[in-house]
Symmetry: C2
Subunit: 347 residues, 2 copies
């Protein structure tokens, strides 16, 4: 049985064209997703129903023959598993009963985390069994800083003033929350790998709001601890880090002891990444999701530009952020065709 192009690429094998999967490839842009999503009112309940989570995980692989699936779930299952109230309001994004005081941490506990999240692991077992052998299955988690953002802000935010002020003014108590999240994420990723995830991705979606010293303390260092923690039990599992929008500070994340690959947001230029990152680490990315909405010659030109710059080194094709709901599914098919048909420009 072959490990498939995605896992082999993460292990250092090179293919004429890179493997491809897309962040948020299972989602609202697919009519078959919307049909099954409509059968459950609560988003978290949907995530915790293995049959449905498995079905939507498989949908994009069936349609587009992607090289990897990512288990359908949400990064906020971890706060939920820790006992914080999390809910999703239609068209408004996630809401959490915000932590407002270090004393609130006392209400959080890892004791029941993997029990609460058992449906995620069941879904992974089922999805792994259902997927073709050559298609990798990714598990994932939010990185501690991004989870802390949601947990302290009580949802998304424009300026993240609450979480930043807490981290800046009270680094000791903020550090306690981050420590708890490091352990919780290790638990969650370990359970996903044990259920059959072939690789994992750590999303630090809000890392980019931190200046560099804070970024080191609250994003990079906790992510490295998670990688080391997961590897004590699963020494070979590939780990992809996605510190989104951190700019040139992504240089700090070149840590082969921790991360097998770095996922790049659209703001990291492919030329720069080829020079500064690829000699050290496999990279993944980074087409603008709006290019996938635009389609046509714009999509073709931009895809080839990225391939010409990054396709010669260790590379997984992906977006710079998740697929957006208004994406025409036929543009995804077009993208896969461009990537699979690519040959390096001679110019």
């Amino acid at each position: 049985m072959s490990a498939g192009r995605f896992l082999q690429t993460l292990s250092g094998t090179r293919f004429p064209t890179p493997p491809i999967w897309l962040m948020r490839q299972a989602g609202r842009y697919l009519p078959e997703y919307r049909a099954i999503r409509a059968t459950t009112r609560s988003f978290l309940e949907f995530c915790y129903t293995p049959d449905k989570a498995v079905e939507v995980t498989l949908q994009p692989v069936r349609r587009f023959g992607l090289d990897a699936a990512i288990i359908f779930s949400d990064i906020l299952v971890v706060p939920d598993g820790l006992g914080q109230r999390v809910w999703f309001e239609e068209g408004e994004g996630p809401k959490l009963e915000a932590l407002t005081d270090p004393a609130d941490f006392g209400r959080l506990s890892r004791a029941r985390l993997t029990d609460t999240l058992a449906p995620v692991y069941t879904a992974i077992r089922q999805a792994r069994a259902a997927l073709p052998a050559e298609t990798a299955l990714l598990g994932f988690a939010g990185a501690p800083f991004t989870l802390a953002c949601y947990m302290i802000e009580g949802g998304g935010s424009r300026d993240f003033a609450k979480v930043k002020l807490w981290a800046y003014r009270h680094p000791e108590s903020f550090g306690l929350l981050v420590d708890l999240l490091v352990e919780a994420v290790i638990d969650h990723l370990t359970a996903q790998v044990e259920a059959g995830a072939d690789a994992v991705q750590l999303f630090d979606s809000w890392a980019g709001i931190l200046p560099e010293e804070q970024l080191f303390a609250w994003s990079l260092e906790p992510m490295v601890r998670i990688a080391h923690g997961l590897r004590t039990r699963h020494p070979k599992v590939p780990i992809i880090a996605f510190p989104r929008a951190v700019g040139p500070a992504i240089l700090m994340y070149r840590r082969p002891d921790a991360f097998t690959a770095l996922s790049l947001d659209t703001g990291i230029g492919a030329h720069w990444a080829a020079r500064e990152l690829q000699p050290h680490v496999c990279v993944q990315g980074n087409l603008d999701p709006l290019m996938l909405v635009a389609g046509g010659t714009a999509l073709e030109r931009e895809t080839r530009r990225i391939l010409d710059k990054l396709g010669q080194g260790p590379f997984v094709f992906n977006l710079g952020h998740g697929v957006v709901p208004q994406t025409p599914p036929e543009h995804v098919a077009q993208l896969v065709e461009i990537v699979r048909g690519w040959t390096p420009s001679t110019s």
Copy 2:
């Protein structure tokens, strides 16, 4: 008469401590600003009332003895001057009657721009006369891409899908809008310099949403054209470019033919900037505005960290983004004191 520390720094002179001013230093965090702002209902009318605009321009200089003032105005006076309807709703940010079709461009015209914006130039004349000789007065404008974002989205946006899709799918018509904005911004900056602005800053606040090839076409290239256009009439005027959140692509903006200094957002690490940017160009920045809210030892530590990294090269101290309304004014005083009292760490 001395040109003052700010202008001399931009001309290459070095001082033991850098000059300091702050983006959005005139604003809602000051009680004296709120008092005068309350006397006019419409925000644009407030901007177009020279006595009031001058008064709020001077307030932070009086309080904190900053090295530069920036004329109180708004980047959206340019779309207003071009004939697009612009208004501000309390607590909601700016609104514009969105351009939805290339035909809408026909309703825009530069013909009355500098007449409509005459109150801005009057305010600059008055502010320049009222300021101490050693305090520089900055004029400013939004860069074409950022203006186009507001003009096409009809305000702020979460994903900027409309402006991106327009630029990606219809680069020819988007280019016509950008061309018009280049000329309009040259007109507006030229008039500001002729009214007495000692230097200007170009804000490309939304540049960071563009992938590199698009960034070159729609952010950098138009900004360079503006710089060259302004310099044909005012060859020596210092121009500061602020391409916000562009990550490593800020390397493209090292263009001494166009920009005297680069303003850095908080995401550009000081260490990296000292190595990659400062040998080529004066830099300005980049304290997190939330550090200024936090105050205390966090503010002191982070300010000294930036000074130690950047204070040895050509440098203007500033924030990485504008002062936020919840900033305690006494923290600004504390910041100025730290910057003025700084001596390089011996470690």
